[in-house]
């Protein structure tokens, strides 16, 4: 049922993926690959992983029929409620899987990069639960716009290291995590936060979050008696999108839509749309689409959403794009924020700004699909996270914050 033939043994999805990293990391990647393959075959490991998801993370997440949103968008909308997971996003699935793997490999320390802070919080959570030391690298710009998540990570016992080089965002945090890993690889697992990076990360992360799609598919069959017409997700590095897409890839009648962060608009150059506004190259260990100039220097991305503010994308999405199996489109900051507000007002759900990109994308494709199918389309949207962390950003965007001095907890500790 699942298209599990890719990647090949060296981590290639067609021409994408692979390993573009210093030789010093190859042994660790090989060990990780071997540990992952043995864990995959080990019923005991799978049982522990599934047990944690069920009893700790609150998975399977609901598939919720959003009636008022459906009315507003002219489509039958089902929301995959990853926002209800423990720690508030789909990311918890990946971190629990990888933290268990770190344990299995006997590594007492995990490091992570984070943009919005969601992956950092999830990593700190899993590290606390499984008694691992945790260090999180976070761009200084992001520590400022996601100060609450910085405090959360510290509460959970993690060390947060603000990264002050380059653009001071997610890509620089990732560079710094890789630099740490080169020096500490004997004792440390790099808990990479998205379905990108060198092999085996894109495959391993996909598999750990792949339950999203497996559950959504079964829930559709149970609730509707059929599969949806389309599945949609936002795409940063691509984990929540590949997580919900993967189980549907063989179902050729189900359209797959990935919505990238269009920032101020792809035509302005200020965006984070790697597939729709970038070109093929090598970044952070894999060949994929990325934002780069004529010399192959990475261009800084821009998005109102810290979690999508990344100039690359996972290699499997590059491949799904080239083969045409999935369709990728950009969504601007303004469109995403309008959809954010719409979900708040129609359903009483405050979504993550990341996930709001998926909602906004569906608002755009729903009329097209309706016309194409000649009936009301049924669309599953991955609501990858909740918006608690974004209250400040969204409040400022909508101009609804009272003018009081903001106290940032944990900032001076």
């Amino acid at each position: 049922m699942s298209a599990s033939s890719l990647p090949d043994l060296a981590g290639h999805f067609g021409r994408y993926g692979g390993r573009f990293v210093p030789e010093a990391l190859i042994k660790a990647l090989d060990e990780l690959d071997a540990a992952y393959r043995s864990a995959k075959q080990d019923p005991e490991f799978q049982k522990t992983f599934e047990g944690l998801l069920l009893n700790y993370a609150g998975v399977p997440s609901l598939l919720y029929r959003a009636t008022r949103l459906s009315e507003a968008l002219g489509a039958e909308i089902l929301l995959k409620r990853e926002d209800l997971n423990h720690t508030g996003a789909h990311k918890v699935r990946n971190v629990l899987g990888q933290a268990l793997l770190a344990k299995r490999m006997g590594k007492p320390r995990v490091i992570a990069e984070t943009g919005a802070g969601q992956h950092g919080v999830a990593s700190a959570t899993a590290a606390a639960l499984l008694d691992l030391e945790c260090v999180v690298y976070m761009g200084e710009t992001d520590t400022q716009r996601q100060a609450l998540n910085v405090a959360r990570m510290r509460m959970l016992g993690a060390t947060v290291i603000p990264v002050t080089n380059g653009s001071r965002t997610l890509k620089d945090a990732l560079n710094e995590a890789l630099r740490d890993w080169v020096s500490t690889v004997e004792t440390t697992h790099y808990l990479l936060g998205t379905a990108a990076g060198p092999h085996p990360f894109p495959e391993l992360v996909r598999d750990f979050v792949g339950g999203i799609g497996v559950e959504a598919r079964a829930q559709c069959l149970e609730q509707l008696g059929r599969l949806p017409d389309a599945v949609a997700a936002c795409v940063g590095g691509g984990s929540n999108a590949i997580g919900i897409f993967h189980a549907f890839v063989p179902d050729e009648a189900v359209r797959l839509y990935g919505f990238e962060a269009g920032g101020d608009g792809v035509e302005t150059g200020r965006h984070a749309a790697s597939i729709t506004g970038g070109s093929v190259g090598v970044l952070h260990g894999n060949r994929t689409y990325l934002l780069q100039d004529d010399d192959g220097q990475t261009i800084e991305s821009h998005s109102i959403s810290a979690g999508l503010d990344y100039p690359g994308v996972g290699p499997e999405h590059a491949w799904l794009h080239d083969t045409g199996r999935a369709v990728y489109e950009p969504v601007t900051d303004a469109e995403a924020m309008a959809a954010f507000q719409l979900l708040c007002r129609t359903e009483g759900i405050i979504p993550a700004i990341e996930s709001s990109h998926a909602l906004a994308g569906v608002a755009k494709i729903a009329p097209r699909l309706r016309e194409e199918l000649g009936r009301t389309p049924t669309i599953v949207i991955n609501l990858s996270g909740r918006g608690d962390k974004d209250v400040h950003t969204a409040g400022a965007y909508f101009g609804i914050l009272d003018q009081v001095e903001t106290v940032v907890p944990g900032e001076n500790t």
Partner: protein, 265 residues
Amino acid sequence: MSIAETFAKAKAENRSVLVGCMPAGFPTVDHSIEQMIAMHEAGCDVIEVELPYSDPVMDGPVIQKASDIALANGVRTRDTLKIIDAVSSAGATVVLMTYWNPIEKYGVDAFARDLAAAGATGLITPDLIPDEAAEWIAAADAHRIDRTFLVAPSSTDERLAMTLAHCRGFVYATALMGVTGARTSVSSQAPELVQRIRAIDPEMPIGVGLGVGNGRQAAEVAAFADGVIVGSALIRCVLDAGDRTTALTDLRALSAELAEGVRKR
């Protein structure tokens, strides 16, 4: 002089080769040319030009900072080729070190062609392993550019053998598990790695890098390696100097000290 000739000459003189690194265009194109020629004149046998890159994951703070300055001052890939041309015309043996994406963007074969035309003899690829290098290997062969891949203390014997089989000119042994930057002591992992390489390929010249900062350390590394690679300490001469004259004076002095070091094995 080719890389092979440079290593052969040093061997005949019973010493190691000194490889000095400097980012292209740091702080400006003209200044970097001046600096590299000064290093060459003061005793660096090989000038390793580094192509500044936005995401240098193998590099510590010093090289990151120098690369950022070069990029902020507008250095382009074509400038790097111009710099190589100028420095090799001044008589230096030049190799280029670069992360992979700028080459892929330029066009792999076109880059090998233009690199050879500029007078470089080799290319060091810190984030390109032979497993992913088929296109580069073909282009390097076609344009007679020596290929230097990296090996590390963590490399298995199997990977050492595979990587050595794909190296031409010399192999770059990263002396420790970590990023670039001068260290107070030279890694104890390095001699063992060199021994393991020699056991597999006794002929391949071995350059050892990461951490060497002064003449004493250069001598320590020269005692067991064919080449001593120095980067951050040289770059720091430029970063720390208040003015051009001081930068060049300090660069010459450190190059001379290191050159003496590689002769004291």
